[in-house]
Symmetry: D2
Amino acid sequence: MSGSSLGKNIKITTFGESHGPALGVVIDGFPAGMELQVEDIQKFLDRRKPGQSSITTQRKEADEVQILSGIFEGKTTGTPIMLVVNNTSQRSSDYSEIASYYRPGHADYTFDSKYRFRDYRGGGRSSGRETIGRVAAGSLCSKLLSQMGISVCAYTKSIGNIEIDYNKFDASNILKTQTAMPDADADALAVEYVNKCRMDQDSVGGVIEVVIKGVPAGIGDPVFDKLDACLAKAIMSIGAVKAVEIGDGIKVSIATGSQNNDAFEMVDNKLTKKTNHAGGILGGMSDGSDIILRAYIKPTPSISKDQQTVNKAGENITINIKGRHDPIIVPRAVVVVESMCAFTLLDAMISNMSARADRIIDFYK
Amino acid sequence: MSGSSLGKNIKITTFGESHGPALGVVIDGFPAGMELQVEDIQKFLDRRKPGQSSITTQRKEADEVQILSGIFEGKTTGTPIMLVVNNTSQRSSDYSEIASYYRPGHADYTFDSKYRFRDYRGGGRSSGRETIGRVAAGSLCSKLLSQMGISVCAYTKSIGNIEIDYNKFDASNILKTQTAMPDADADALAVEYVNKCRMDQDSVGGVIEVVIKGVPAGIGDPVFDKLDACLAKAIMSIGAVKAVEIGDGIKVSIATGSQNNDAFEMVDNKLTKKTNHAGGILGGMSDGSDIILRAYIKPTPSISKDQQTVNKAGENITINIKGRHDPIIVPRAVVVVESMCAFTLLDAMISNMSARADRIIDFYK
Amino acid sequence: MSGSSLGKNIKITTFGESHGPALGVVIDGFPAGMELQVEDIQKFLDRRKPGQSSITTQRKEADEVQILSGIFEGKTTGTPIMLVVNNTSQRSSDYSEIASYYRPGHADYTFDSKYRFRDYRGGGRSSGRETIGRVAAGSLCSKLLSQMGISVCAYTKSIGNIEIDYNKFDASNILKTQTAMPDADADALAVEYVNKCRMDQDSVGGVIEVVIKGVPAGIGDPVFDKLDACLAKAIMSIGAVKAVEIGDGIKVSIATGSQNNDAFEMVDNKLTKKTNHAGGILGGMSDGSDIILRAYIKPTPSISKDQQTVNKAGENITINIKGRHDPIIVPRAVVVVESMCAFTLLDAMISNMSARADRIIDFYK
Amino acid sequence: MSGSSLGKNIKITTFGESHGPALGVVIDGFPAGMELQVEDIQKFLDRRKPGQSSITTQRKEADEVQILSGIFEGKTTGTPIMLVVNNTSQRSSDYSEIASYYRPGHADYTFDSKYRFRDYRGGGRSSGRETIGRVAAGSLCSKLLSQMGISVCAYTKSIGNIEIDYNKFDASNILKTQTAMPDADADALAVEYVNKCRMDQDSVGGVIEVVIKGVPAGIGDPVFDKLDACLAKAIMSIGAVKAVEIGDGIKVSIATGSQNNDAFEMVDNKLTKKTNHAGGILGGMSDGSDIILRAYIKPTPSISKDQQTVNKAGENITINIKGRHDPIIVPRAVVVVESMCAFTLLDAMISNMSARADRIIDFYK
């Protein structure tokens, strides 16, 4: 069954395999009249492109996006926007061997179980390259959100046990550090840690945090399309994410109500919250505070250490995976998480436009 | 915009407010021919009914379910199944005061922000009573899954800092203990802890764990309708859940690849995994191992301690919330989480039936 | 698979069988703040209620609607609105015989083919009583549309070969005549014709026409959710409808372009069309003219004439169907067609609110 | 709002404008393992390609399809199939004039009303070229259906007043005649008629009929996703279709029940119907007979005769449209209608796989 579309008002549909001719996305329902240059999209794609950091894969991929539809005279037209990236650097011969066995931590076995066979080249559909379509879509959503004064900012919060220090938070570092950490000192430690693991033929995980500022209260549609529920799906659908939390997240389980509740108070005639344990979402709707969430990313499953597994003939074998793999995907995944948040939020904001009868009547006056 | 429906093949739509005439669910697309007695549903509802445990609310609600459609001669007919529970014990006068202010940790403010006004009686639509519909639907899904040898088992893993000891795990305790913990010793400690917090006019959170056994490999539809993504949405959509994790969850962020990867091996001519850090899901599809996930539940926001908040006139005020509130909702939420998992899994299993062309052809032979 | 929900922003889900405990609808996503009395809904339901006309069934059914959720203090709350009609007049014993065979023109055989068994009492789910939910939902949509100056008006255009004369069109007749024809003379002839057929133990079909006035241009979402496409689905989904046409409909096939094209012209500084062959829809979007469409309704399949058919034992048999059946369903179906149009249009108008980026930005200013 | 996706199990999303870089479709959820060559698709596309018939446009467009994803080693993989056709023959300069006014019968005005501006080149998104994506998708669906013994056959039933004679029906003519009529004599008359209209600078409409053979009983999901309702939407969504009918269609309105009901009878131990007024669909589900439906196509709105219209400055003007336009689109639309039927049917057949609990249980044994 179809599973590559997401969204209610704006619907994104990604397509493409790691080593097929191309990957991309169709963005259907994006509103008309927003100015858009190819650079707006490319800027986002470049953040996930390999070869941008010393601690990610040194593969070179141009990942140049082309706009095939939906833009006319520099503006979105309201019709489906088709964005495509041709695969150029793929060497399929690299992957002839892995066709025959199931890599631990990868989707090889589950794809084969489901479909009876798979495009094994570079992970095929389960490759991280699928996120190209997500990021391309996210770039448009972020642009429109920014025109409403809303910023979606994702960064690396931790790698292994190395966490950023919020006292050293400098947003300008996010795009500058090797790790996408906003704290340059933590970045240095993390790079060291990743390099050590890489020497050990191993890989590393981490945590990505997102802060969304400027969201009006009331966004999200209870009871199933709550904003947090939609965000959880959007983020958990990214390969390698194994946990999602909103606000205090897992810590709420050990808090008491008096600790966890955020008191409301009027400040300058504006309703605010004294604290933000809720992470900006109450009852599945934005509460006007910053929306804060975290994605927990597993270590890259492709490691060159020896691993035990099974081949398609049903034999126990030992493998070690060659190739130019990322020892950590967190830095490149930051923009993917950011994109999924931007898309999910914009879609929910559009849904919210019809929440009240008077506003529909006003709209058509 | 509509947000009270979930599911692709089977679609559940819940309705009802805490103090309206009734609550319930329409289950559309449930397959025909399954034997169903009202007791099958009531048994599930009784697990979330108030007054079953010394540490939950002592309100008495009958929560008796009626079947209004979709069942004939003791079997599902394939047409929409309408299940309704009449509200009987509601005393609306209790709630006249809270109409005027926004309770911290509740959805009062966000509902008002979105819709301009709200049914304030007992939380209205954002009440935990909404989950009646979820549990009623879950009971049917669990029954059909069990006929395929699949069990979905949820229980309380921890309350505050008190965790179960897996060495003392006894599944029969789940329905017997006050906390829905499978470990009777942990239960005793947890009851003591909850009672202490209640004395302090405070409330408590906890963690619910789910283990799903017997799921064939390949269930889930990449890239957005991955099984873990759909589970994350389904569970995060339950009020009070602030984090969801699959398998090792948040711990993957501090693991290395060699620690986190699960080696495959053949055992008795069957492909298995030596470990299950992945929690039974790889690449968004079930891998044949147990599916393991956790929901982190916040402490009940209704506490009788003094709290600061804001009223609708925009004044800072101090409140304390009266009423028979749960000092913890975890024990009653266990069956809700279980139900959402059962529903999500069954829906995904149906989606999977059309994954391969040869199976469609076979089906119609 | 689920098939009893319709709509994108507002989602209606009908439930119920002819002789089950109740029938109704959940309306999810209806905007908050519209005043609604139970009479608003009952007024619509009374138009489809049996026993209102000499030429329809003389069965008495109260069809009294109850509101179980979604309304508070006389206004919609934005949460799911649950409307239910209890079945009161059903005599299941009437139907014991038809359980054993397949009535020609009915869904008995197709229901059995699909689900292996069926609720055979009074047609079960395929009964015309299912439209109670549609009409209940339509009443709310019509009310909101009317607040935007939009009227949806359906009436009987023809019964058998007897057509209304537009020179005698008097809208006030629609609710007064036995046939729901706006032309009292045609009504008289049609009543005579229906009674003659009834004497012959036969039944009659007809055509329902809908005129929607006041719709702004641009409503509808190409290319699949065009307004005409959505209307076609909504109307064809009504039992007994076998054809749907927009504007000149079937006649366009014998016209030439110069005959069929509607010239635009400015009248009083307003863009208008000189003619309306298009029926108010161009390229799948409303063009500002009246939207005009027609539904072709088959004669009631339940007739008391002898008919040949097959029983469940696979034997050829002769039957004649007893019971108080409508010799024509057209008059009662008028409000059903009107309701489906009102719902479809309102849903499309909400979709249209996000067509332009500048309007989204304005909305959130 | 998004409107360019259709389908529940298989979801097609078309994209592209007449004069943009490319047009195409993403087919998501198509089952894995079906053999597919690019020729399978091209064969379908060639049937709608311009320049194939003396009575359609003489523009030359290669319309060569490329597969960008979802196929591996000659088989579908279960992942999204991306099919694209590059636009090669577009001369945008042809269209500079029409940017300034609204062509009668076209979507220029409605697109501008909705989105405030449009890609005016060649109709942009509302061009018939959009159907390239539909036909490409249809080719895959037809192929899979044929492997289940199901044939979907569309042809021209009439052009203007010239109808085929069923006694002269020769299916092999459908692909051979200029009109796609199966009756060579009618074809000759129709060609003459079209040419006469073209000489008059006018255009012509017609009727396309579809016969689907081999469909098992029970396909379709009441009450909104009935097979006829879904077919009606799919076909009405094709530009230029103004009416859809099933079986006897509009004629049912003048029939009596005894004429219109199809008697069931056992023939060779198989339940059949003596007649097929219902067009193979009862209660919204296939009844095992041939499914028969018709689409009524309006004359091409682009004619070179003088026409009155309005320009964007709000002035009444007279235009005549230059260019190589089809005097009739019916012959080229035949494969579009066929494709939409094949897609809709296959999607409904997949939905039907989960209608019965026992079959789900069997599937997973």
